[in-house]
Symmetry: C2
Subunit: 636 residues, 2 copies
């Protein structure tokens, strides 16, 4: 079939595990034509990954899926308890415990949510369907090439129905491998896996309902005993998950296919938990799970065929990072493809997918090593643990190596340790965009890190809302204008609005083509599909004069807010959001976040054109069109 006659897609996604479903949902919702296949006849039924980390919970909420996930009534893990052998074969005792997400991490969800991958996948699959894409199964990929025969759809992909053996050849702009550890696409590209830790492991994982007098059965525990080690993770519906290490490649008789029956694991667990008793009411799922710690050398060769999730990085299940890292990979990929395909960003920005996400995977792997060592070599004492749960990031002071490692680990495992390094999307002094207004003095936000949660009152309906969630995951950059006190910044806001209106502002240049037909009820993207704007005043709701806010900002009528809700983290503050983020209410300032809610830059709010000039320079550094050159009035 000639390329011109082949069915064409914006993206072909292979694999409907965590990375595939997040990417598929974003691209489908944002209006792209998606072909999505999976080689299993049905979605995951039980088992596999089950821990949703705090930052991932934010992402799920931003995708509008948190409520459905929470409807499963998942167990929530706030703490990890450590159990160790007593001398003389007297069994185990608790030596300490600590919060899995200590208070120095400012999150609304200081817990891991335990619900198994199958349920999470089902929620996504329903939403993907609603967004117009159906995952076809069982289908597999049998070949692909970036032959460029069609300039717009350069990649040809051959897919095969496993039921009928029919082969379908399609063309696509992008091909994405979310195939998991044994990625066909990665193998075809000849991309190697680098093994970090030369040791590989075999793990047994069992979900079931147990009766026991072990007091921490509803708490996440790592238990070391003379009879071996085990990790206990509470689950929904009185279930519990046990992880048992069955073999390690540094065992003298290592066999990567070594296995153990469910009964073996139960017997081991009984011995380990002495002096407590344990009995199984039922076993829901059991699996043996061999794993090596590897990372893919490249995530793409041509910025047309990409990979993510387990196809790029594998590691032990101990820290429950597999699914969470996959979510982040997918969201990162999604908004960057959108930035390019919507015409906003130059194609070259796609290289940041690999640089950003591979860097995180490297951190994950070295963290995984450290975590393993931490678990097997040294037990914390209760005293240290108490410290860790009380010390705040700001407090400073002396801490021993263990507590330090632990603290950085918590940040990492919670997902809040993800700190993208400076690049075109993450401003620092080396960024091509230069203006004295970048980096607002006193502001406690770090470009590259997730935006801090704050609660404000929405003026349109007086609802108390979570500002960081006010823009749903819509692929747009988010501009939060902290306008301080209205009487102090009214000229700066007027000037900002006037400069946004100019014909060559980022907002005008990327104005929606369909602006005349935008729905009356459009709340987030009235002007441009690429930018959402929020305006927050320090003050009581009734003190804010909405009529005097410039029209271009009032068009975001659902995104005007009063900063008047108390926050327990800044209990003395009158304007808690400004204060927590570090904005001076006499001056205000602007935060730009990327579509994934990581801070891109902060800009001072100034009278004149400076603020918008800085924003134009920032967006202009990767935009396809020149920004900010002239000063005509726009048609917005």
């Amino acid at each position: 079939m000639a390329p011109s006659q082949q069915e064409k897609y914006d993206i072909v996604i292979v694999g409907a595990g965590p990375v595939g479903i997040v990417l598929s949902l974003c691209m489908s919702r944002w209006g792209y034509k998606v072909k999505h296949i999976d080689n299993r006849p049905v979605p995951t039924a039980t088992g596999r990954a089950d821990g949703i980390q705090p930052r991932s919970t934010e992402i799920l909420r931003n995708l509008g899926l948190k409520r459905q996930i929470m409807a499963f009534k998942p167990a929530k893990v706030y703490d990890v308890a450590f159990w160790d052998p007593l001398p003389g074969g007297q069994g185990i005792h608790r030596t300490g415990s600590w919060p899995s997400c200590p208070r120095f991490i400012d999150t609304r969800y200081p817990f891991t949510t335990l619900v198994h991958q199958g349920k999470i996948e089902r929620v996504f699959l329903d939403e993907i369907q609603k967004a117009g894409t159906t995952v076809e199964r069982p289908w597999t990929i049998v070949g692909f090439k970036n032959d460029g025969l069609d300039e717009t759809y350069p990649v040809e992909v051959q897919l095969k129905s496993i039921d009928t053996n029919v082969i379908e050849t399609v063309r696509t702009k992008y091909l994405f491998s979310g195939e998991g550890a044994r990625s066909f696409i990665r193998q075809q590209l000849g991309i190697q896996i680098q093994y970090k830790d030369p040791i590989s492991y075999v793990w047994g994982v069992m979900d079931g309902v147990v009766r026991t007098n072990f007091p921490d059965i509803e708490t996440k525990c790592t238990i070391h005993s003379d009879a071996g080690s085990i990790m206990v993770i509470p689950r929904e519906d009185n279930m519990v998950r046990l992880y048992v290490q069955i073999a390690s490649s540094d065992d003298p008789d290592f066999d990567p296919r070594k296995t153990a029956t469910a009964e073996d694991v139960q017997a081991t667990a009984r011995k380990i938990l002495q002096p407590y008793w344990v009995e199984w009411d039922r076993v829901e799922w059991y699996s043996v799970y061999p794993i090596g710690q590897g990372i893919s050398e490249k995530y793409t060769l041509d910025e047309r065929v990409f990979m993510g999730g387990d196809a790029c990085h594998t590691h032990s299940p101990k820290a429950g990072q597999g699914m969470n890292t996959a979510f982040h990979d997918a969201l990162n990929m999604a908004w960057k493809l959108h930035a390019v395909e919507s015409g906003l960003a130059k194609r070259s920005i796609l290289s940041t997918y690999e640089t950003e996400r591979k860097d995180i995977a490297e951190t994950l792997l070295s963290f995984d090593n450290k975590y393993a060592a931490l678990f097997s070599k040294r037990r914390p004492t209760a005293g240290e643990v108490g410290e860790a749960s009380h010390t705040t990031a700001a407090a400073g002071g002396e801490e021993d190596e263990f507590v330090k490692t632990f603290k950085s680990s918590c940040e990492f495992t919670s997902g809040y340790g993800v700190a993208y390094k400076p690049n075109v999307f993450t401003w620092d002094a080396t960024h091509p965009a230069q203006s004295p207004l970048f980096d607002v003095p006193g502001v406690r936000l770090t470009p590259g890190r997730a935006f801090t949660p704050t609660t404000v009152t929405r003026l349109a309906d007086s609802n108390h809302v979570h500002l960081e969630q006010e823009i749903p995951a819509n692929g747009a950059f988010r501009i939060f204008i902290f306008a301080g006190k209205q009487d102090k910044t009214s000229k700066a806001i007027t000037d900002l609005a006037a400069n946004l209106e100019k014909e060559r502002s980022f907002l005008s240049v990327y104005r929606r083509a369909d602006i005349a037909d935008v729905s009356f009820f459009e709340n987030h993207l009235p002007h441009s599909k690429l930018f959402s704007i929020c305006l927050v005043y320090a003050g009581e709701k009734n003190q804010i004069d909405v009529d005097s806010i410039p029209k271009i900002l009032r068009d975001y009528h659902h995104h005007l807010y009063a900063d008047n809700i108390p926050d327990v983290r800044v209990p003395q503050a009158t304007y808690a959001a400004h204060e927590k983020l570090g904005f001076d209410v006499e001056k205000g300032g602007v935060v730009v976040t990327r579509p994934d809610s990581h801070v891109a830059c902060t800009v001072q709010l100034s009278e004149g054109s400076g603020t918008v000039d800085a924003l134009n320079a920032f967006f202009g550094s990767f935009a396809t069109k020149p920004l900010g050159q002239d000063s005509q009035q726009s048609r917005l």
Copy 2:
């Protein structure tokens, strides 16, 4: 058919509106055999009541239904805005706004949740089904008599299938009318309705999607204009509800059957909203709704046949109280029937259903009058409003009549104004139970009012939980032991446990018959189906020595807590729950709440038997069996 051959029920519920469904759900879940009928062929589809008040949201959460309701993505009303005519026919302008649930009300849900009755009913109907009862429809009631022919099932009820005309005669312990305003049962009993306000009204209610430039369309508003008055209530899915008064019996040409078409109402709304424009995308529901302000003289004649909801009280829809009052009626009825039928309480306590709920209905009606006057006679100014939203209950100071009325109104409409008067369940100095330990000095809880929300850490799994929600609506009394610092109160706690263990303690006397077979996973009622116990220590989680807690309290292993979570309402407090409620952490104290979460009494925590003696005296004042006479050890 002889009485002995008739099908027998614990309760027959007629009507599946708000009052019927709450009662049916509770009774079905608590193990009673329920016959439930409704004369409509299908549940409510659209329209009718739609505002769930803050306190009702607590109740829904306690029934485990909040998540399902919130899944409808309801609109939330935090504020009410007032609009009035400008002089000289220039249209309307906003004169003020105020929070519908100001900060002096300590609630987790300071908003009204807007979702229509049909959706709420559907959620209940599903849960009722899960609990083993099916609402039969269309069935009606054609006769009943309390003939006492069967001592246990004294009431005979005749029900008729509207489809087949088949009549079924059943016997029951109780018959409940949740039939709404035109109750057949009330008529048969010859109970009169007293009309409070001689004026009756005809209201038009319209739900639809509108486009408008009226800035408060997402806010609840009352609008007075030269062209008439209207109330605007935002709804889910960009909908809005308009209430228009069509006729009033003090109009010179009053006709209670006066009506208006949807087009009439739209035309009136257009005029009223001048200078703003408004257009309808669609009308979802429209109804004309005649209403008189009436209250039933009696809620029961024989304490076997009861009524609740609109069968007992009707009033204007302005304050959105109909459905909410029905919820409270039903919950009050349910736990009292359970207290009697479970063998805990003497039958005479059933009289408190009428005394408590009729008193609230009287308050509702006089409030409805006041509210109407407030709306039609006097407009607040913006300045007064600002005050109202800032003043806290504690602050005191001078307030004008309007602000005072407003504040008490807010408390009432939010559901937190419900304050049951002293009676056998609501301790005051006149209560039959006497002990110097009643009423803990400094404690800011009022018997008769809902228990204040506090957040604590659950020791079993370290989850941060809402203490007031930790016992689900299970029909049991709730005993919250605020144990202060463990080292200060350890003797008092040991003594309390030892006295609970005694053979004639309330807990031992009402021990579960099936105590040997209680599920390993039973969290709330391990000893008695009538009492749930929670134990809260002031301290960090790791500082609490669980092993030293007496066994009888440790049996509530899911109800041991650390008071260590900061609270924005007591920002300086180390032990926020103790501090907020007013408990001295050196001394502690006990709070008893009724099964509906209203505070029954508070008791000082003392060494020796005094605390349990006081609790025995309290429960003994309505118990069927003598409590607290001897000092043998129980078998618990």
